[in-house]
Symmetry: C2
Subunit: 210 residues, 2 copies
DNA sequence: TAGATTGTTAATCGATTAACAATC
DNA sequence: TAGATTGTTAATCGATTAACAATC
């Protein structure tokens, strides 16, 4: 983990983009790329590209640039996309189901191992290769299976209670689609918030002001 | 639009959060709030709160703080949540449908006026109070109706073609859920990207490195 | 070797934080 | 009035950009 620590969020959030663009380049059979070219693709600067990459190691070669495959694989490793982070979905409604079906968790370093919902109607429904379980099975499941992260797709009102249960079951990592402020309740957790409505409001502001 | 210009993205992205928290405070019948208290809620600093708000005007009162209702209404106006930005959905699959059903567009300053899909199976299906239209109706619809923004929920491979059509129809604002790089193709557009997979990769990185 | 391009240090820029006079 | 808290200017911090020696 030597150099992996103390990386700023700005850099971390750029990593997935590097990874995506490098995958594309590789698919187009591009073998090498300079920081200047990569910067153009990233809408960034050559300096920033080199600074970013050098947070993790010297992956380039003077006078040559970076090997596309090589760099892609390094970033894949840095992002931990080959990991098997075990995730559960909380809230298998339209929204949660769409998220789960839309994404290829495996390619992102995760494996969905269970889906829970408190609606008896949904019990047993197929979802992402799994079967929706009743909310009451959560404790039993977590006792028997390692759970690294929870994807929260339940209405804000329900998040508090389920969060407390998850926390007491040892879950410390959350992908949160609700507006519940998890960080205010627990400080020793990792929370990645996705606030779609904030994003749409931002678009609204920008389209009418820029 | 006097003071509304030249606001940094950092500030803009915080506006929806101010708005959400102020709404909550109002629901809890809190009448006034100081920058210090608001900063606690925002996980920010009193200085930043005051700096942020003063980009748009002096909404507070010395010795008192800010009126919750008053400030909420100001930010609502700044964000343009009372507007009627006319949006269309492109791609009414599981994912697009879930997005549209999940959010209350009206409360966010938008009105969904049409949904399009190229799958004949979906034609006529009800969605968000509307009926899914065939992709081929896009030109006709845009000729007869003002369209301010498009929500792109189609696979990356299909974005290029639909984007060109939308651009030539005059649409310049995009809420983009695909990995297609719109900004590279057109520079005079406003794009708000939602990259869910990037977000999940970021969570993966953080949970294994922090 | 000469040309290209990195890795890294230094300079700049912008955003955040601190300080404090103004004032309710 | 005295206390509280803003609006705003100044200081600090961190992130981005520029520069250049190292080297492939």
């Amino acid at each position: 983990m030597s150099k992996n620590d103390g990386i700023s969020m700005s850099v971390i959030r750029r990593l997935p983009r590097y990874y995506r663009f490098l995958c594309e380049l590789d698919e187009r059979n591009v073998e090498r790329i300079s920081s200047t070219k990569l910067a153009q693709i990233m809408h960034s600067t050559a300096s920033q590209v080199r600074q970013d990459l050098n947070c993790f190691g010297g992956f380039g070669q003077q006078g040559y640039g970076y090997s596309v495959k090589g760099l892609r694989d390094e970033i894949k490793k840095i992002l931990g996309l080959d990991r098997d982070n075990r995730a559960i979905l909380i809230g298998a409604g339209n929204f949660g189901a769409a998220i789960v079906n839309h994404l290829d968790f495996e390619k992102l370093g995760f494996r969905l191992v269970a889906c829970f919902d408190n609606d008896k109607e949904k019990l047993g429904a197929p979802l992402g290769g799994l079967t929706v379980r009743d909310d009451s099975e959560l404790e039993g499941f977590c006792a028997e299976n390692r759970v690294d992260a929870a994807v929260l797709c339940v209405p804000k009102e329900n998040v508090g209670r389920i969060l407390d249960r998850l926390y007491s079951l040892g879950v410390r990592n959350f992908w949160n689609f609700s507006h519940y402020d998890i960080a205010s309740r627990y400080s020793d957790v990792v929370v990645e918030n996705v606030h779609l409505s904030d994003s749409l409001m931002t678009l609204g502001y920008r389209m009418n002001n820029l």
